[in-house]
């Protein structure tokens, strides 16, 4: 995934998991769980969508990489 594709995938996943969140308000360093109020089920769904989109295996140990949009994009784009 290119960084652009990764960014796009993240925004789409968030739109599905938290439809009430305005993507425009999102900064690269927004904490997805605390800042957007995603609960553990929302977060799991978020990971699921990203995994489907990117074709990348995302292990539980990788979850910390998905904490913010910036870190998630970096992770998906292959670090």
């Amino acid at each position: 995934m290119t960084p652009d594709q990764a960014q796009h995938a993240i925004e789409e996943a968030l739109a599905q998991v938290a439809p009430d969140v305005d993507i425009a308000d999102l900064t690269p360093d927004t904490d997805l769980r605390d800042g957007l109020g995603l609960d553990s089920l929302d977060f799991l769904r978020f990971v699921e969508i990203l995994s489907e989109r990117s074709g990348k295996q995302i292990a539980e140990d990788d979850y910390p990489h998905l904490a913010t949009p910036a870190s998630a994009a970096k992770f998906l784009a292959g670090r």
Partner: protein, 480 residues
């Protein structure tokens, strides 16, 4: 003939609005089929039929707000269903205290099923009835279940049906008139406009094909709709008295976001105020070492696809359900001044909605579900709660409730009990803390478990046993 009544979808519900009928007269329905969408103060709810049979008439029109217990539809039960024990008409688990009900309904524990005594002749397997006879009976409004057949082998003949219709006519003549029956066909657009304008569809004269109601008819009916502000259902003799419902507009269909938020707060407010006024709460708390549970979970998830992974909350829920079974004094209802234990564990789950408010649907028989199943039920409930697609049965029969605020970052939560339940368990966030184990300090993940319980039904000793049980269970995650 069975009467499908407005169910009490939670102890806080006094009245509901029919948003949509998913069946029409003549349709076959089975017990458990979703047949109507009912709007409550908190959410739109899919409501299931309690009966198997044929819909005879829809009594309450779309957009009408009627008190709990009001007849919504009549269903002619099929023979097989009649022979089986019947559920009692839905009753509110307990009337809200502020309602001045002249006679307190005999509130049985919601799960208890009354066995209906079936006369021997009716219990016989039914003789097949020809479609023609069935059609004739339907036209005449005759309940075939009540017709005695005079044909060979007790078969119901056309003459039997017509005789029954004539008898029914005589009965009707001496009985007070039944409420007007609304059998209206309405276009989806008309339905939406009616909801927006607050028009009672039952009062609209349709000019479309077959008398169906079109958008133009609805718009024309606006002044008439306002004039007829008294819900038709007020005339239904069996209607439970509900003064609050009478003050509501006749057609309060689909609420706007702001209205929904307000009515949600009001509904929560009334129920919680009642809880605090009536229930002497006691509280106990405990800190549970989560090392074993989380290690086990992590190991299990490692091999699995994202969609099959479990979250720690599932272990907490399963432990809460199993502990409720072990400590039955906390699992059930306080009704008529005594505790009535439930025979199954239906775990109510507090689900906060995006945009505010909460719903507490139940996961049925949670103690018996494997973790993977419990996880998928939980995901499904959260999605449907937020989309407003919960089913009526899920909102009525929780026997104990769990609130899990771990994801919101707090360490502990002491909840307010949902009457008529007698206990509410709370879980906080799993945090790493210094813990002394075997004389040594180590850093371990811990969770604070709490219990709010009704002191009328149990003492703190019982509550302590419940939390100890949860702690023990979480040390043996492989057995959950």
């Amino acid at each position: 003939m069975a009467e499908f009544r407005m169910p009490a979808l939670g102890a806080d519900m006094d009245a509901g609005t029919v948003l949509e009928w998913l069946v029409k007269p003549g349709d076959e329905v089975h017990k458990g089929d979703v047949i109507a969408v009912i709007d409550t103060e908190k959410s739109a709810i899919d409501v299931e039929s309690f009966f198997t049979g044929t819909v005879e008439s829809l009594v309450t029109g779309i957009g009408q707000t009627v008190p709990v217990g009001t007849v919504l539809a009549t269903i002619t039960e099929s023979a097989a269903q009649r022979a089986a024990p019947q559920p009692p008409a839905p009753q509110p688990p307990g009337p809200p205290a502020e309602l001045k009900v002249p006679e307190r309904p005999k509130a049985a524990a919601p799960r208890k099923r009354e066995k209906k005594i079936v006369p021997a002749e009716q219990a016989h397997p039914a003789v097949p009835i020809s479609p023609l006879i069935r059609k004739r009976a339907h036209e005449l409004g005759v309940d075939l279940a009540k017709v005695r057949g005079s044909g060979s082998g007790g078969a119901v003949t056309r003459a039997d049906v017509e005789r029954a219709a004539a008898e029914r006519q005589r009965e009707v003549a001496v009985k007070p008139p039944s409420p007007p029956v609304s059998r209206i066909r309405v276009s989806p657009l008309a339905r939406r406009v009616a909801a927006e304008l607050g028009v009672d569809l039952a009062s609209v004269t349709g000019t479309g094909p077959g008398g169906s109601v079109r958008e133009a008819d609805v718009r024309r009916a606006v002044p008439a709709g306002e004039a007829a502000a008294v819900p038709e259902a007020a005339a239904v003799p069996e209607a439970a008295p509900a003064p609050e419902a009478a003050q509501q507009p006749a057609a309060a269909a689909a609420r706007s976001g702001a209205e929904r938020a307000l009515s949600m707060r009001q509904a929560i407010g009334r129920l919680m105020a009642r809880s605090k006024r009536e229930i002497p709460h006691y509280y106990v708390g405990n800190t549970v070492d989560m090392t074993r549970s989380l290690d086990w979970l992590h190991e299990r998830n490692r091999e699995l696809e994202v969609s099959e992974r479990l979250v720690p909350a599932v272990l907490l829920l399963k432990a809460a359900a199993l502990a409720a079974r072990k400590v039955p004094d906390l699992n059930g209802y306080w009704l008529d001044d005594q505790f009535s234990p439930a025979d199954a564990v239906h775990l109510g789950l507090v689900i906060s909605l995006r945009g505010g408010g909460l719903l507490t649907p139940a996961i049925h028989d949670a103690a018996d579900l494997p973790l993977a199943e419990l996880m998928s039920r939980m995901r499904d409930l959260v999605i449907r709660a937020r989309a407003g697609r919960l089913r009526g049965s899920e909102l009525t029969d929780a026997t104990i409730t769990v609130t899990n605020l771990g994801d919101q970052g707090v360490e502990s939560v002491f909840g307010v009990i949902y009457p008529p339940q007698v206990a509410l368990a709370g879980f906080g966030k799993v945090t790493e803390r210094p813990v002394a184990v075997g004389g040594l300090i180590g850093v371990r993940p811990v969770v604070v478990t709490t219990l709010a319980a009704d002191h009328r039904a149990s003492d703190a000793m019982t509550g302590a046993r419940y939390l100890t049980e949860i702690s023990d269970l979480l040390q043996r995650p492989e057995e959950l």
